[in-house]
């Protein structure tokens, strides 16, 4: 009979209409500013810089190697390398970024900077309410705005952060052991040379 298809469709629409009053699973919308969805662990918006400890200048992991600047597809990272060096987490002297700017009006949130960073220094943030009336000033983030403590990274990406911490801790232990071994060797060397002057005399 002509029209049965339409009636079937109407029944379907009615089912969906009534269903949304009965089954809370069918209510898919979220009343945004009041209600919020829990952020996903892998979620990403814009990059930030991780620092260890309390001092963001001393603890910044970034060594200004500029790999992210080169690999960034839309070229939105600007780094100036420092003239002097500061010790990194294992105590090795490294450069640090004198300035580190990210233009988030250009950034496309692709996470390639995170992937290519060999120092676990740049990670993805999850903030998204960044609208501003100042297009050029507020959307160009400088180092003080970008630097976030390691705890913040733990809060956002716990799995990733724990894995990174374990790896860095391991490296640090190794470096310390190596330093201790080197110190011991140096001490032994210092202790050892005492009989050394005898040798040439023996030979002569």
């Amino acid at each position: 009979m002509l029209g049965t298809g339409i009636i079937k469709g109407m029944v379907e629409t009615a089912r969906n209409f009534v269903g949304s009053y009965h089954d809370p699973e069918r209510l898919t919308t979220v009343q945004y500013p009041e209600e919020r969805l829990a952020p996903k662990e892998n979620g990403r918006s814009f990059p930030f810089l991780v620092f260890d400890g309390n001092d963001q200048q001393a603890g910044l992991r970034c060594v200004a190697c500029q790999i992210c600047e080169k690999e960034c597809p839309p070229q939105c990272i600007y780094i100036n390398k420092s003239k002097d060096k500061k010790p990194d987490y294992v105590g090795k002297l490294q450069f640090y970024p004198a300035t580190f700017d990210i233009d988030i009006s250009v950034c496309m949130s692709c996470q390639i900077c995170v992937e290519v960073c060999p120092f676990e220094a740049i990670k993805m943030d999850q903030v998204f309410e960044l609208s501003t009336s100042d297009r050029f000033g507020k959307l160009l983030l400088h180092k003080p705005q970008l630097a976030k403590p390691n705890e913040y990274f733990h809060q956002l990406h716990p799995t990733d952060a724990n894995e990174v911490d374990a790896r860095l801790g391991e490296e640090k232990r190794k470096a310390e052991a190596k330093a201790a071994a080197a110190a011991a060797a140096a001490a032994a060397k210092l202790a050892a040379p005492k009989p050394a002057p005898d040798e040439p005399t023996k030979a002569t």
Binding site: L2, G3, T4, G5, I6, K8, G9, V11, E12, T13, R15, N16, T28, K40, E41, N42, G43, R44, I67, E71, C72, P73, M108, S109, C110, Q111, I112, E115, V116, P118, M124, T159
Partner: protein
């Protein structure tokens, strides 16, 4: 008075007519009939809501009948290929997301596959499974939203589109928890995938896959027997088998015309030879067949997903030889293609040994499927032209690149 069959710009201002006006004069002379002065030229678009983006159809109308149609694209051209030639191999992965922004996973895969061919990388088993799963989920997303848009074009305002988007949302949530972004996934890398599946992802995906057939049943109950839909689509925009093959149409459009050609079966890229699935075929090549083709393909995709989710092994997800930072390749060339949701999506790369490709070319299914729009629309009404365009399934990000 004879009516000119090819459009001639009247005031040329001393310049020659732009090339795209003289191209494509497909309508044979004398085909434009009717009483003198009845042919009306309408520029539909580029801001027409039915054109799915910034796309223009220059139609000549005799009453309501289309006597000539010229697709004009390029409004969204953004130098994708040139940009990719100037960034590193890794750097163009996120740009491929933005080609066909509804199916970023398949775009990633096609690009990754061509770089793998170029570099001779082996993809680990688990990564292959993840790729199949994400690609088939993408197919669900694409076909689902396409049907919604097609119904919107036909005047079913909102309802089917909202139902389709409700289901699409669940899959996008999966993508978000996997890759961090809902649409711009940027997930696949040459040699594997970027990150391991989060815990509980497989169970979540299984839940989505098991609930999807029920949605499809309801969706079909809503649409497939609807008399208005049947009247609007059956026998409209017929594309013959021969023309489809000659115009190198691919994907669901080709299969709706009855040509059994699916790159998943023909090329067996990835691990598609391990799964049992069928390729649905149409026989009339009209809009209804193209609609039905999408519904049936979604059902086949679900079969594939069930198998892949059940069989997925554990193991590494990226080839240890794959080097992302500072990736260079010795001179050579490679072409890889996959069966994207819209058709054959191919990437052609030439390497000259530098960190960026010397030549990078995309073979976009949307663009090539769009080239025969005139042949399908001639003799139909202007309202039908809208749904014929809708059934082609285009995304302007991919057409114009």
């Amino acid at each position: 008075m004879a009516i000119e069959t090819t459009f001639q710009p009247k005031a040329t201002l001393g310049r020659t007519a732009p090339g795209n006006y003289t191209l494509l004069p497909k309508t044979p002379a004398g085909a434009i009939g009717g009483i003198d002065g009845t042919v009306l030229e309408v520029a539909m678009g580029p801001h027409h809501p039915s054109t799915h983006g910034v796309f223009r159809m220059d139609v000549s109308l005799d009453g309501e009948t289309v006597v000539k149609l010229k697709p004009v694209f390029g409004y969204l051209h953004r130098n994708h290929e040139k940009i990719a030639e100037n960034t590193t191999y890794l750097g163009s992965v996120p740009y491929t997301d933005r080609l066909d922004y509804l199916c970023s996973m398949t775009n990633n895969w096609a690009y990754a596959l061509s770089v793998e061919r170029l570099a001779g990388l082996q993809v680990p088993e688990r990564a292959e499974y993840i790729r199949v799963i994400t690609a088939e989920l993408t197919r669900l997303v694409n076909h689902c939203s396409l049907i919604g848009f097609l119904m919107q074009d036909m005047g079913a305002m909102g309802t089917p589109l909202m139902y389709a988007f409700r289901e699409r949302e669940k899959i996008l949530d999966l993508f978000e928890s996997l890759s961090g972004s809902r649409m711009m996934c940027n997930y696949m890398r040459f040699g594997g995938c970027r990150c391991e599946l989060p815990s509980g992802w497989i169970e979540q995906a299984k839940k989505v896959v098991t609930s999807f057939p029920e949605f499809l049943d309801h969706f079909e109950a809503l649409l497939s027997e609807n008399e208005i839909l049947l009247a609007r689509t059956q026998g409209v925009g017929v594309l013959s088998k021969e023309l489809a093959i000659n115009a190198s149409i691919t994907g669901p459009m080709l299969r709706a015309s009855g040509v059994n050609y699916d790159i998943r079966k023909v090329d067996k890229y990835g691990i598609y030879d391990r799964f049992s699935f069928r390729v649905p075929l149409g026989e009339h090549g009209d809009v209804f067949d193209r609609y039905m083709m999408r519904v049936l393909e979604m059902r086949e995709s679900l079969k594939l997903l069930e198998q892949a989710l059940a069989q997925i092994p554990s193991g590494p997800i990226i080839d240890p030889k794959a080097k992302l930072r500072g990736f260079r390749q010795k001179p050579g060339e490679a072409y890889a293609r996959i069966e994207g949701p819209k058709g054959e999506l191919g990437f052609y790369l030439i390497s000259d040994g530098s960190p960026n490709p010397y030549r990078y070319r995309v073979r976009p299914p949307s663009l090539i499927n769009l080239t025969i729009l005139e042949d399908m629309c001639l003799g139909q009404t202007i309202a039908d032209a809208v749904i014929i365009l809708g059934s082609v399934d285009i995304v302007l990000g991919e057409v114009d690149r």
